[in-house]
């Protein structure tokens, strides 16, 4: 059996009187013969009415203080000059260049700046050595050094040197 298509999403617009004449007539005609849509329309009307007459009000605030605070925020955000326009001013550019230069001189006083060895760099170094360990272990000398280090002999090389037989 053919069932009429309910104009669900048009019901609110119908209530608000926003539909074009043709659509309005079509919805009105449908509602007049459809009990379900009639009930829905009545419930929607009631809910909208209830909501409109009971809109909760926010806590009151002092509007003078509100505007003063807004003005303060706006002043804080406001730049004297915006974006690229700032670059067109020679004085700020010259001053900025001078400050930047001074900072560079202060940062590198001797011209022999070396970056500090960080834990990350040490870790990288260890990783590099570890990756070549097999190669290093092929050298007998290094093996001996390892042995000496293991035996805590390496710290006393000077004292044991004379007793060694080459």
């Amino acid at each position: 059996m053919w069932a009429p298509r309910h104009p669900d999403t048009q019901l609110i617009a119908y209530l608000k009187g926003e539909l074009a004449d043709r659509d309005h007539r079509r919805v009105a005609s449908h509602v007049s013969t459809c009990a379900e849509c009639t009930r829905a329309l009545e419930d929607f009307r009631k809910i909208l009415q209830d909501l409109a007459t009971s809109v909760p009000q926010p806590p009151e605030i002092q509007w003078g203080a509100y505007r003063a605070e807004l003005r303060q925020k706006l002043e804080g955000r406001r730049q004297p000059l915006w974006g690229w326009q700032w670059l067109l001013r020679p004085l700020p550019v010259a001053l900025s260049a001078a400050v930047a230069g001074a900072l560079l001189i202060l940062a590198f006083p001797s011209g022999t700046y070396r970056p500090p060895v960080t834990a990350d760099l040490a870790f990288l170094e260890e990783t590099a050595v570890a990756s070549r360990l097999d190669l290093l272990q092929q050298y007998s000398m290094l093996e001996r050094l390892d042995l000496w280090e293991d035996l805590d002999v390496i710290q006393h090389l000077d004292t044991i040197q004379p007793t060694r037989k080459s």
Binding site: T9, F44, S54, V55, P56, P58
Partner: protein
Amino acid sequence: MELSDEVLCQRVANRDEAAFDLLVERYQERAYRLAWSILRDAEEARDLSQEAFIRLYQAAESFGQRARFSTWFYRILVNLCLDHRRKHRRWRGVLVVDRSEDESETSLIERQPAPFQDPVEDLGKEQTMKVLWTAVDQLSPQQRAALLLQVQEELPTAEIANVLKCSEATVRVHLHRALSTLRKLMGK
């Protein structure tokens, strides 16, 4: 003769501070109330409504008068609120009468002009309104924004669509779903 909002906004674009102050005075209550309706937090509503005015000041040049000023401004405000809500998703149980916000214990009914009604009937109605608005708080942000713009600001569907940056058909779907949800929750 009173200047229109659109003319004032044009003047704000030319950095007319007096025009800006006038627009703030005209819209401050509506902006704060709408922000509060979406966020249900007085501090956030105050902050975001002020932020909307700052955006207005900064972007006044881009107001092309293709829409009404109110629509353009509501769009800034509602987007700010929805973005804020998205970032700080706090689906806490928000009650209509939030005691923590010092509403002087006034009930919804006390704020309505209905002096000759039966107190027992009032109490029942007050409870119904509480349930209804609590249900509104549980709607999706888009549905809720559409419903608030409809009920509170009484905007036509075309303007709600403009504020929410969607089609009128989408707004109708939002409103229909919102009201169907409320209808179901209210046991109708």
